[in-house]
Amino acid sequence: MNASQIVEAVLFASDAPLKAEEIARADESLDEDRVEEAVRELRVFYDETERSFQIVEVAEGYQILTRPEFSSYLERFDTVPRPSRLSGPALETLAIIAYRQPIGRVEVEYIRGVGSAGVIRSLQDRGLVDVVGRAEGLGRPLLYGTSARFLEHFGFGSLDDLPRPEELPVVLRERVPLLPEGEQEDGGAEPGVAAGAEAAQLDLPDG
């Protein structure tokens, strides 16, 4: 058995992305570099022989997935599991958490303008969002961040694959700590996340 065959077998036998160092566990002869090399070989081979699947980098790992061109054929089969779709509020909340992590619930709610405890909880239940720490300050509110499953769900290789702020029509810049104005009645649960959270200060033009 050569390295490519072993790596292929492991990728074929998995329904989730695997990191190179995980794949390397399959045999003593493998290490991370050998695995990376085998992945490159397999990719070339799948391309050249026009396989219907390819190796995709997802969630900082590798996964064999069908090429998108085949979706219309596959969607006809009950035995092909359907991907799930998130609701608008869930996407909106995820967007905030992805870009501002680590971020507390109160800060998410201030940005959205609506209560978000239920959405955050359901994102947690789906494994898309994790508690990643606690803020300083009164009540030490929980801070949330995105998980590996978040990357998997959207097919991102890493957080770097998120659209860059400068590509967006509205530009994110360095921000001063978010100071909720009076309309926040969650008394005292000050989001003390100024330090870690990168966020936006949208400067107003003069006048």
Binding site: S71, R85, A117
Partner: protein, 288 residues
């Protein structure tokens, strides 16, 4: 004023009053952004009076079944009204920070950007959805968990312990925003005070309220007085900026002569009906 909104398809005139499909909006920022974008208003120079009027009108149509979100829309309404009031005050110098709209504009732009990002996430989700992983994966022996070395240390368990939040028994599935202050209570308070006098100072209504709650009481009392203004049960007067705000009882019979501290009628209830206020208005229905 009606024209641009109808064109936007946001409002529809039905049975003589305005209906807004509040369900279409994910929250007050969404609605506000819609009002601004659809009328092609410069977000850096929001005509706050007009937008506030439109917003308030939309919020009035929130149905009793949507009380949960009503609070959020009302908070925004209070913010808008406050900004509107501040815009009337003289501003000192040309310090841009002094623009009372600045924080709102920042929030709106930030929210718009988040919406742009969610749209892109949705696209990414759809693209990922066109690829399929290995459907069948052979069952293989799993290592027993007991043999698996555990790397978790006590600090992590402790951290989780500190994070445990006891859920509210009334709130297992949905978070019900239990408002510390009900606007309806404040409406009653104002009407009660005006049952005994023709006018009352705003500050008197807040007597005895202190601490963290004071701000919310202030906002809700102010909202209540606006609501009563809308129902044409009262009108507000303030001689100078920062001077005392007076709430006057309004006699519907003497409409137009409101300046002379309202007449002797005590028929506030009738005034309420007058403005179509027979719906179970707005926020209340609190859990105890």
């Amino acid at each position: 004023m009606a024209a641009p909104e109808t064109g936007a398809g946001l409002f529809g005139e039905k049975a003589g009053f305005w209906v807004v499909e509040i369900d279409r909006f994910q929250g007050p920022l969404d609605l506000l952004l819609h009002l601004i974008r659809v009328q092609d208003v410069d977000v850096f120079d929001i005509p706050i009076a007009r937008i506030t009027d439109q917003f308030l009108r939309a919020v009035k149509e929130i149905h009793a079944t949507q009380l949960d979100s009503a609070g959020e829309f009302l908070e925004m309404a209070a913010t808008l009204v406050r900004i509107k009031a501040q815009m009337l005050l003289p501003r000192y110098g040309d310090d841009e920070e002094a623009d009372p709209r600045a924080e709102l504009v920042r929030r709106l732009l930030e929210y718009e950007q988040i919406r742009e990002i969610s749209a892109r996430l949705q696209t990414a989700e759809a693209e990922r959805g066109r690829r399929f992983g290995k459907g069948y994966v052979e069952a293989r022996p799993r290592p027993t968990l007991e043999d698996t070395p555990l790397e978790t240390g006590w600090e992590e368990v402790m951290e989780a312990a500190l994070a445990v939040e006891m859920p509210d028994p009334r709130d297992v599935e949905h978070r019900v925003r239990v408002r510390p202050v009900a606007m309806e209570t404040k409406v009653a308070l104002i009407l009660d005070a005006l049952g005994r006098a023709t006018r009352v100072e705003f500050s008197r209504l807040l007597r005895g309220v202190e601490g963290l709650q004071a701000r919310m009481h202030g906002v809700m009392t102010f909202l209540a007085s606006l609501e009563l203004t809308r129902r044409r049960a009262v009108y507000l007067r303030q001689v100078n900026p920062f001077s005392e705000l007076w709430i006057y009882r309004r006699d519907p019979e003497t409409e137009g002569a409101a300046d002379e501290s309202a007449g002797a009628t005590d028929d506030a209830a009738e005034a309420t009906d007058d403005a179509g206020g027979d719906r179970p208005e707005t926020t209340t229905q609190e859990s105890p």
